[in-house]
Subunit: 458 residues, 2 copies
C-alpha cells in the first residue's frame, strides 16, 4: 500500500535523542518513504528554548507543545522529553486527538503506562515505546511479538549503562565507587546528578516495563524492589572475583510458580548481585546493555547492544515511527499491550534469593556457632563459609574444626531462602556481640546456571 | 479487538517442529486466545504417514495437503515440511485461496521467496517466516521492524548449529573433522546425510534471507558464495588459537559502499573464517546460534540463542502465528518484505577479504622472496609472515634477514584484497617449485574489530 499523502510527525524535545531523530528523518527520507509507503515529514518541533536550536528550520519550531500535538495536520507524536509532566498531559492530549504516539519515556510508562495504554485503546491509535528500554536493542518487540506464542519465565539483564560503566571500571582498575563515578561523570557516562542511575530508579522503570510486557501483567515502578550501587565497594568486587563472580546491577523479572495455596506471581527487582563469570551477562562491560530472556519453548536468548546515547536511542524511535506510520497508511493498528494475566506481584520479602554476607567478627572461639545459629533460627541454609584474616588465613572446611580458628573476617554464602528471612538474619547478626560489623551484603544470582558452590567453600 | 470466531490453522508436517507446534497450541490455548483476541484452533494436520501419529486426533489428520490448504474453514497455513516441492505448490495454493502463511522453510524462501512474496502481496495475505533463520532467536522481525528506521550495514553470524557444534568440539578436544562429525551424528546434532549443514548450504539459505531483509534487495541462495567446513583440520584450529582466533562458519551479509564508478552493492557469503577470540561471536559454542548486526545509528547489536530444535523453532512459528492471527482478527496485514533498493550483488571475486595461508615450503634460501613475489604481483599486501619447523623454529622479523633461515612451514596473513586476487595468488603459489604444498587457506574476518596483526608477526 502506498500513498502520496505524507505521514506528518510532531517531535517533542530536541536534545541528544531528538536531534538524532531529526537527522535520521532527513538522511533516510527516501528509504523511509519506501518502507512506510508514504513520505514521513516533520510537521513541528516543540522545544523550550528555540534560540538553542539554530539548526532547525524556524518555521517548524514552537514552544507551544500543547498546540502542536493537537494540530490537525499532525499524524504521529514522538516524545523524547522525558519525565512525568508535562509529558503525560501532552501525550494524552495527542492520543485523544487521534494521533499515534512514539515515546522513549520510561519514567512515565513505568509510573502510569496503564493510563496511556487505555487512552490509546479508546482512541484506536498506536502507542509504541521500544526506545524506553535498552536503547537500540530490539527488546520490547521481540518480547511482545516474537515470543507471543511462548511462555516467558525470566527477563534479566543489565539495562543501565551508567552503573555498568562504573562497576566495570571498578572491576578493571580496582577503583572505589566514588573514583569510578567521577570517571564516569568526566567521560559523560554519568549525569551531574547521577541519582536516577546509581540508585537504580532508571533500571527499576525498565524492569516495570519489561515485566508488564513479558507477563501480560501491569507492573509499575512502585512494584519494583530497588537497590542501587552506592554501597558496592572495591572489596566487594575483589571478593566476587575470588568466587568466580562479577557484580552487576541487574533488573530481574521472573515468573514465580504458585505453590501451596499461593497463586502464580511475578517478581520484579533491581539490585547489584554476584553472577558467575561463566554467565554471558558477566562479560557485558562498559556502557553496553544486555538482556537475557528465558521462555519455555525458546529456551535461553540474549540481546546485546548499546543501551543509551543519541543515535542508538533514535534508531529505536525511528523503528517505532516506521511501524506506526505504516499502520497509518494501511489503516490498521499494531498489537496492543495486554495485561490480561493480571498476576500478583510478589513482595521482595517473599522472593527466594541468596545472600553473600561478609562480617567482621571477634577473633575467638564460638563465633561461627553464634553466626550459624542466627541463620538456622530463620530456616536459612548455609551453602559455604570462609574465614580470612585474624589468627589464621585459610578455609574453614568444617564448622566444628573451624570454631577455634575463627578470625577477623567471616564470609557466608547461603542457599536460596525468602529474602525477608535473609534480611532478618543479617539484622540479627549485626546485633551479635561477636560481630563487630556487617561489611557487605550482596545477593547471588545464578540466572539459570548453578551457583551452588561458587568455589567459596574450597 | 476480540472475536468469538476462531482463527483456524492448517498444519503441514508433524515431525520434530510440527509436533511441538501442536503441543504449544494446546498448552497455551488460553493465553493464545487472550493475545490474539480470538481462539486459535487446529483445523487439520497433513502428514504422509498417518499411522505414525497416534497422538493426533484422527479427525484432524489427512494425507491430502492440497485439499487442506484450500479448505474454506482454514485461515492460516503453517508449513514445517521443508524442501522446495511440494511445499512451494502448496503454499502458493494456500495464498491464492486467501490464507495467510507461516513457514520455517529456509530452502524455499532462499530459492524462490520472491514468488511467495509477490503472491502474498497480490492476495493481500501475510507471509511470515521467523523460524526459517536461527530458530527461536528473534531476528527477522527486529531486522525488518525494529531497525526499519536505520541503515543496516552488516549482518554476520553463526546460523548453523551442526557446524558450530563440530567446530566447537574440534576446538575443545583437538579432534579432527571426521571424529567431531561422528560425535555430532551420535548425539543427534548432525543428520545421517550432513551435506546441507557441513557444506554450508543451510547457512547460505539463511544468508540469502537475512540479506534480502537487511538490504531491501532480493538475494537468493544462488547469489551466496558458499564454502563448508569439510576441509577444516585440527591443525587449522590449533593455528587459529595460536593467533588468538577461533574458526567459525560464518554467514556474512554486508553492504559494500560504492567507489569509483562502482555502485553500492551487497555481499552475501558463507565460509569458515578465523575471528578474534575477543569478538563476542568467538565465544558462541556448541549448537547455539548468534548473529551480530551493525547499523549506522544503532551501532553493534548481538542476538543469541538456540538456532534449531523442535521447541525453539516451534516458539518462533507460534510467534508468527499469533501475529498473523491477530492481523486476521483486526482485518489488517503485517509489514511486507520490500526489495525496493534492488542493490547489485557483488561477486565473491570482488569482495575484499583477508587470507591466512599455510604453505609447506622447501627448506632453503629464496623461498620467502618467491612467495612474497606472487602476492606483490597481484597487488596483495602481506600483513604478517611466520615460519616454523625446518632449520629454525622462530619468527621472521624481517624478510631480508629471514630468507636464509626459511624453513618447512610458512604462514602468511594478508591485508584486505579482492578475493579473486587472493585466490589467484594461492593458485600461483601452488605452482611454485619451492612450495611443496598449500596446507590450508582460511579467510580472516575482523567483523568490525581490528585484526591487523593477529599476533602473527611477533
Amino acid at each position: 500500500m502506498t500513498s502520496d499523502a505524507p505521514v506528518r510527525v510532531a517531535l517533542l524535545g530536541c536534545g541528544t535523542v531528538g536531534s538524532e531523530v531529526v537527522r535520521l528523518l532527513e538522511d533516510q527520507a527516501g528509504d523511509l518513504t519506501a518502507r512506510v509507503g508514504a513520505p514521513v515529514e516533520l510537521a513541528g518541533v516543540a522545544v523550550r528554548r528555540p534560540h538553542r536550536h539554530p539548526e532547525l528550520n524556524p518555521d517548524l519550531v514552537t514552544t507551544d507543545a500543547s498546540a502542536l500535538v493537537t494540530r490537525d495536520d499532525v499524524d504521529v507524536v514522538v516524545e523524547v522529553v522525558g519525565g512525568i509532566e508535562p509529558a503525560r498531559t501532552l501525550l494524552l492530549q495527542a492520543i485523544k486527538s487521534g494521533k499515534s504516539v512514539v515515546t522513549a519515556n520510561k519514567a512515565l510508562l513505568a509510573e502510569d503506562g496503564a493510563t496511556l495504554a487505555e487512552a490509546a485503546d479508546a482512541a484506536g491509535v498506536d502507542l509504541y515505546y521500544e526506545a524506553s528500554v535498552a536503547g537500540a536493542i530490539p527488546l520490547l518487540r521481540p518480547l511482545r511479538e516474537s515470543l507471543a506464542g511462548d511462555r516467558i519465565t525470566r527477563v534479566a539483564g543489565i539495562v543501565n549503562g551508567t552503573t555498568n560503566f562504573i562497576l566495570s571500571a571498578m572491576s578493571a582498575s580496582g577503583a572505589g565507587y566514588a573514583e569510578a563515578l567521577e570517571e564516569a561523570t568526566r567521560l559523560g557516562y554519568a549525569e551531574a546528578d547521577p541519582t536516577a542511575d546509581v540508585d537504580g530508579y532508571d533500571a527499576a522503570s525498565k524492569a516495570a516495563i519489561l515485566a508488564t510486557i513479558a507477563f501480560h501483567t501491569r507492573v509499575t515502578a512502585a512494584d519494583v524492589h530497588c537497590e542501587g550501587i552506592r554501597r558496592v565497594t572495591a572489596a566487594d568486587i575483589a571478593a566476587a572475583r575470588g568466587l568466580g563472580c562479577a557484580i552487576k546491577l541487574l533488573a530481574i523479572c521472573e515468573r514465580v510458580p504458585g505453590s501451596g495455596g499461593a497463586p502464580e506471581s511475578v517478581s520484579a527487582r533491581v539490585y547489584p548481585a554476584m553472577i558467575p563469570l561463566s554467565h554471558p551477562l558477566a562479560g557485558v562491560d562498559g556502557a553496553f546493555n544486555a538482556v537475557f530472556v528465558e521462555a519455555d519453548a525458546a529456551g535461553q536468548l540474549m540481546f546485546y547492544g548499546q543501551g543509551a546515547g543519541g543515535a542508538p536511542t533514535a534508531s529505536a524511535v525511528l523503528g517505532d515511527l516506521v511501524a506506526v506510520a505504516r499502520n497509518r497508511v494501511a489503516g490498521g493498528r499494531g498489537p496492543r499491550e495486554s495485561a490480561y494475566a493480571s498476576l500478583p506481584v510478589l513482595p521482595i520479602g517473599d522472593v527466594h534469593t541468596r545472600y553473600h554476607v561478609s562480617l567482621e567478627v571477634a577473633d575467638r572461639a564460638g563465633v561461627l556457632s553464634a553466626v550459624a545459629g542466627e541463620f538456622a533460627r530463620r530456616g536459612v541454609s548455609i551453602a559455604a563459609v570462609r574465614q580470612t584474616g585474624g589468627r589464621e588465613d585459610g578455609d574453614v572446611p568444617e564448622a566444628e574444626a573451624a570454631e577455634e580458628e575463627l578470625a577477623a573476617r567471616l564470609v557466608v554464602v547461603t542457599h536460596g531462602a525468602p529474602d525477608s528471612a535473609l534480611h532478618a538474619t543479617v539484622e540479627a547478626l549485626a546485633g551479635l556481640d561477636v560481630v563487630r560489623g556487617v561489611e557487605s551484603v550482596l545477593r547471588v544470582e545464578g540466572l539459570g546456571r548453578p551457583v551452588s558452590t561458587l568455589g567459596v567453600a574450597g
